[in-house]
């Protein structure tokens, strides 16, 4: 697991209360039971953690954790 993936998983468990075992890269945000408010909250959390502005429209219910990780390239995150 990459450092970025560990940090993302840390956000999802500590801030949004998800269970670590569920956080497979192919899991969709809908499968993780994140509703619309949680998705916008997630974009705020990602910006605070990584300094990357993720467009709200990229965080759809069908998006997977892998989709988010693709947006968080090592060159962009801090």
């Amino acid at each position: 697991m990459t450092d970025i993936q560990q940090r993302l998983n840390g956000l999802l468990t500590a801030k949004l209360g998800l269970v670590a075992d569920d956080l497979r890269p192919e899991a969709t945000l809908e499968e993780l039971d994140l509703d619309s408010l949680a998705l916008i909250e997630l974009s705020v959390l990602i910006q605070k953690e990584f300094g990357v502005l993720v467009d709200d429209t990229a965080l759809t219910p069908e998006a997977t954790l892998g989709t988010i990780l693709d947006l968080l390239t090592p060159a962009e995150v801090h």
Binding site: K15, G17, L37, I40, E41, V44
Partner: protein, 414 residues
Amino acid sequence: MAQATVGRPRPRTAVTGLGLVTPAGIGVEANVDRVWSGRPTADRTAELDGLPVDFSCRVPGFDPVALLGRRTAWRMDRASQLAVQAARLAVADAGLDPAVWDGARVAVVVGTSLGGWNTVEREHGAFLADGSAMVSPLLMVMGPVNMTAGYIAMDLKALGPNQVVSTACASGNTAIGYARMLLETGACDVAIAGGTEAAMSPTAMASLARAGALSKRLDDPRGASRPFDADRDGFVAGEGAALLVLERLEDARARGARTRALIAGFGASADGHHASAPDPTGSGAERAIRAALADADLGPQDVAHVNAHGTSTPLNDVTEARTIRRVFGDGPAVTSTKGVVGHLLGAAGAAEAAYTVLAVERGEVPPTANLGRQDPEIEVDVVAGEARPIKPLAAVNNSFGFGGQNAVVVVTPA
């Protein structure tokens, strides 16, 4: 189900459950232990470091994540978290089971002054520091005052009338009064009513300190809330939630519930005088007390105990004592439980109504903590030192809010 109609006797309102999450502890037993032994709870508060007043009364051992689960807890302001726990405790104390009740017949009326102010302050800080993209979308489901009642409905599937009332420091009593009306009209069969407050954010505390409302006894926080004492210098802010389960007495009896006491009367009024100071004549407070007694069909001579608003501010305590003396003479045993738990603002009336219910049920008035030397201008019989046995005929709970809003509840034995 009973429906009130013209010509039918007015139904009486029973208190069948109490849920207390206060600085004195979580649950009825912890509160009785602390409040009836008169041990103050005020202490230094890390979040208030560097402010002109850096102490307050906080709920000990409150763990919202353990209670609600992280996935739910992070969506609620602390005011809602405290309220949900108090509601669960109240319902359990009443012997009711939300898994099987008819939720559409269960009302929720919560009193709060500032609601989710903590969250508003935090997100406003994020907006100023980092711009609009850093503002949480949850602000709009955490900040507004109505959410404190809304989250109780979600947690307990209490699906009847659901509302928040706000009359500053009288909110808790106002909520109980309105919930009783809902029961009398037949709009619900069960009402979960009371108050919650958790607004001791740095900005709110700075404002209260600058307004001169808070005690500045910085070297002695435990002795700071001293209602009716000659050396009192302001109130100590507290957080907490208190909810009561109310039912029509006939319904409570029909299901074999334990009735702790009755809410026999309610009265409300406005001073129409000043934004923060009480009317020095006490006429607004007096009208609320007399209205509550009339509503209960009782006279002043029937009242054995008054749980005073008793904030520990120089102005309130002397004005209130004069009003109590004018209405009741020197008869009733007066106490202010704020000496122990501080001033819970929008939850104060509800916590004190619960303590009044317990005083009537136990036949024992808790002492006013920190009363060393009673202010000679305060000519009422204040219970100090230790709890005092009473014959509980009727008891009165006073609450007066900023803005001059007054609400008074009369409690009688079951």
